[in-house]
Symmetry: C2
Subunit: 274 residues, 2 copies
């Protein structure tokens, strides 16, 4: 499944059907079963990653989630990442930058939230906002934005060199599905807090956002830090797809269990006598 | 159940049977079912807490876990706290203090890890180490330790005044159960990384630790920040009990859903036209 989601040369976002389920034959029920079946392996691999770090390993995994509003970033964090030990996760949501953050370069606040060795980091929005909303809204000049693609690639190369495996995911929903989900938020009082009038303002700029995503995906999908575009009109598929991407990333680290750095038999004897 | 676990006047740790299941009539299977049944409410209440904070609420919950090794602190984090959205959780494990931390007062590093409004914080070990291992091992003088009980009570009063609900839990296992669990770690190579020869060193000081706990529980179980002692020889019971304690704490906040601060009907019209 993962290969069919990867952004490579010639990629066109407009050609990805948000309602499709590439690489998976089943429907919603089979998808939920497959997600449940993968949860234990994900949890086990995270524990190996953590154990590895206690014995000097420097590896970590960073899941970067970008999407239009309502695409389901929060659901991914809860239903996919929620399967692993919370003590091994560093999840962070990036909001509009504070005044202090604005005084620094755009990667400053991102560096502070990077996962330590042994952890799975999750970014709900990220440094990519600085080439997405900034492009669409004109918060930065075209030359600033142009420069940022390169800065992002350099930054991510540095992360990879330091042991971080990047899993960059754009959740791709359709304009119609977004309307449905926003409408639901307005119709249910217990969902009102999730709705923001600004969501419609951004929605009205849909084509400009799609263009900004297309350019960002083209310019920053590198061999070491590839983007995956996950069709997200079906929440069950998006969750399964992100789980598979995380599983692939962790399997790729080929993590064993650390060997004891003490004398196991001697310890058994000490313990028995205690 | 929660009332029967609370540390009040005349409490005696030695009288708590680590294999008991106070306030729960069923066995392991019924306990697992009850835990699963409570997970959705816990998750729902945490979402309300988070929503509340977005609209100016200052409330948070802090779960403090203390225990002898192998008592199951990690399992609590994974199986109880794991039911809520990872983005609403700040879990932190306190290790031996670093040189920098040692140069500050003992609460300095703790203050840095407090949950922001809207979050559930989890401390795997805490400032209580400074009156537990410090007492047993003599890392601090008796007068320093004596002073700390008061400093801890003042600190926790301050947290409560600022909107934090404290859930302080000692997981109470028996010496025999600990031996069983440590033996298992030595017998299974994939568990070797969890074992530390120092665990047996501490184990040999069991009575001194029980005494240090007894004194700490007596001196720092205040009406606003009471301790609960959770019998933990049965993992399933300990998890259920901590879940109930968290549920009680969150229910006590009486959290509704925030009202919309925008015109719902006007937004429906804007959205429909978008």
């Amino acid at each position: 499944m993962s290969d069919s989601l990867r952004v490579g040369p010639g990629f066109s976002l407009a050609d990805v059907d948000p309602a499709s389920t590439p690489g998976f034959d089943g429907g919603k029920k089979a998808g939920a079963r497959a997600l449940a079946a993968g949860a234990d392996e994900l949890s086990d691999l995270q524990e190996r990653l953590f154990a590895d770090s206690l014995f000097g390993g420097r590896r970590s995994v960073l899941l970067v989630l970008q999407a239009m509003d309502t695409a389901g970033k929060g659901g991914i964090v809860r239903h996919v990442v929620g399967a692993v030990n919370p003590q091994g996760v560093r999840a962070f949501g990036f909001k509009s930058p504070t005044d202090e953050e604005k005084r620094h370069d755009f990667l400053w606040r991102v560096r502070k939230q990077l996962p330590p060795p042994g952890y799975i980091g999750v970014f709900d929005r990220s440094h990519y906002e600085d080439v997405l909303i900034h492009r669409v809204r004109g918060f930065s000049t075209p030359s600033q934005i142009e420069e940022r693609y390169g800065l992002i690639n350099d930054f991510e190369s540095e992360l990879v060199a330091n042991g971080t495996t990047l899993v960059k995911v754009m959740l791709h929903i359709s304009r119609e599905e977004q309307k449905k989900r926003l409408t639901e938020r307005l119709e249910r009082p217990e969902k009102h807090w999730k709705y923001n009038p600004g969501d419609v303002d951004e929605r009205l700029l849909w084509p400009a956002y799609q263009e900004a995503y297309q350019i960002a995906l083209e310019r920053t999908s590198t061999p070491d830090a590839a983007w995956s575009v996950v069709p997200a009109d079906h929440k069950w598929f998006a969750r399964l797809a992100v789980q598979r991407l995380l599983l692939d990333a962790l399997r790729g680290l080929d993590l064993g269990w650390p060997a004891a750095d003490y004398d196991v038999e001697a310890e058994k004897a000490r313990l028995a006598a205690s």
